[in-house]
């Protein structure tokens, strides 16, 4: 099982221009300049690969912080 810290790091890897250090567990990711539905696809792909969990758009929309999203992933396990 991956820790929250590892999840945050994997989440940050999906961005091209955003400094990974800018992303923490408390980051409200929808507010990041680079966040878009296309990055959302990369996050879904990452979660599928790393956790074998199929996140839905609602999971993404209803999560405010990166930690919220991590908790959604755990809830699907």
């Amino acid at each position: 099982m991956k820790t929250l810290e590892e999840f945050v790091s994997l989440f940050a890897e999906q961005f091209d221009e955003t400094d990974p250090n800018e992303i923490t567990a408390n980051t409200e990711f929808h507010d990041l300049d680079e966040w878009s539905s296309l990055i959302g696809l990369s996050v879904i792909a990452m979660v599928d690969e790393e956790f074998e969990v199929a996140l839905k758009g609602d999971d993404m929309r209803s999560s405010i912080t990166v930690e919220d999203l991590y908790n959604k992933v755990l809830a699907h396990l």
């Binding site: 878009s36 539905s37 296309l38 959302g40 696809l41 879904i44 690969e49 993404m60």
Partner: protein, 353 residues
């Protein structure tokens, strides 16, 4: 479990019609509020699309004409014409009936439409092959495709295309192995909300709403991209594996995996999960975009013409999307006829209307 096998039918030939007019996504300004054109092209793999003021029958008719010519089939021989589309020429009647007349097929020709999108070619193939397998119908045509006339040309994912697959009765042929599935709980993942019986057209039907960074009226098809992505990467590998397990074959021994051309990122992910080499997973997205029920046959026509004409190739194809609906088929193509791509403009159209 919706598994079945249809024998004694083969695909004899395939063709595709697309608009001559090319739209390049990199030239579209303000492609979305959320991302730029370059990012869109990189993720989806859709650089160009074909688009014009043409309908699915406008694109299909010349493709049928060319394929019949290349096969040496007479119009009088065609006993069934099946059209898979969700953007027919009219809401009523069926496009297949209009095409029977435009093509000059005999009145002893069965014609029907099937309303499915991304999974539609596989469903259409199963329906037509099943009707033919007892040998009563000898030659039928399956048209599949969409021309989304209600969507503005700036919509960067979808292109217009219509394809035609010619099927013939062939006693002893190994035919097709199918697996199908449906999850109607995702009916609104891809939907045109207004204009049907449920939500009739009203003034609000013309008011644009923002959906994942782009604006669509309720009369235009909109998509929950993340939901469809999640659906595709999980359901397709499972369907392929189930089919292989049911019929006891090694899916990696197949020559090609031809996927519905949904978006590049999704298809790369599916191929990776199934451990298919990228060279065995052809794509037509770069030049034609997502062409709905046309995408699998269009990919075969444009990317596998040489292989399918000169060799015997084993194909695995999976269509998945709107519905939500999916279908996987395994079959052999043995030296079939593939017509060169038919490019249609409005001038061509005026020749038969």
């Amino acid at each position: 479990m919706a598994f079945f096998e249809v024998k004694n039918v083969r695909i004899a030939g395939m063709a595709a019609g697309v608009p001559e007019k090319v739209v390049c996504n990199l030239e579209i300004e303000n492609i979305s509020n959320d991302y730029d054109a370059a990012a869109f092209v990189e993720v989806t793999g859709v650089k160009e699309r074909r688009f014009d003021e043409l309908t699915v029958s406008d694109l299909a008719v010349p493709a049928v004409e060319r394929l019949l010519h290349d096969l040496g089939w007479s119009k009088d021989e065609i006993e069934g014409l099946f059209v898979v589309t969700q953007h027919g020429d009219y809401i009523v009647p069926a496009t297949s009936c209009i095409m029977q007349d435009v093509l000059g097929f005999t009145k002893e020709c069965m014609a029907m439409d099937i309303s499915l999108g991304c999974s539609g070619w596989v469903y259409g193939l199963s329906s037509v092959a099943s009707l033919m397998s007892n040998g009563m119908l000898k030659k039928c045509l399956l048209v599949s495709g969409d021309a989304r006339r209600r969507v503005e040309f700036e919509d960067p994912l979808f292109g217009y295309a219509a394809t035609v697959t010619a099927l013939e009765y062939h006693e002893g042929n190994t035919g097709f192995k199918f697996h199908f599935g449906t999850d109607g709980s995702g009916y609104d993942a891809i939907i045109i909300p207004d204009g049907g019986a449920r939500n009739q057209i009203s003034a609000s039907s013309f008011v644009p709403q923002q959906v994942e960074g782009r604006f669509y009226t309720p009369l235009q098809s909109r998509m929950k991209g993340m939901d469809v992505f999640s659906f595709g990467i999980s359901i397709v590998p499972k369907s392929v594996k189930k089919l292989a397990e049911q019929f006891g074959f090694d899916y990696l021994s197949y020559d090609y995996l031809v996927l519905h051309q949904a978006n590049m990122k999704m298809n790369n992910m599916i191929a990776k999960k199934l451990k298919f080499e990228p060279s065995k997973v052809p794509s037509s997205m770069w030049n034609f975009g997502n062409t709905s029920s046309a995408s699998i046959p269009l990919t075969i026509v444009t990317q596998l013409k040489d292989s399918c004409e000169k060799h015997s190739v084993n194909l695995l194809c999976c269509g998945f999307g709107v519905g939500l609906s999916w279908g996987t088929v395994a079959f052999n193509l043995d030296h079939i006829v593939i017509s060169s791509l038919v490019e249609v403009n409005q001038k061509c159209r005026s020749q038969w209307v």
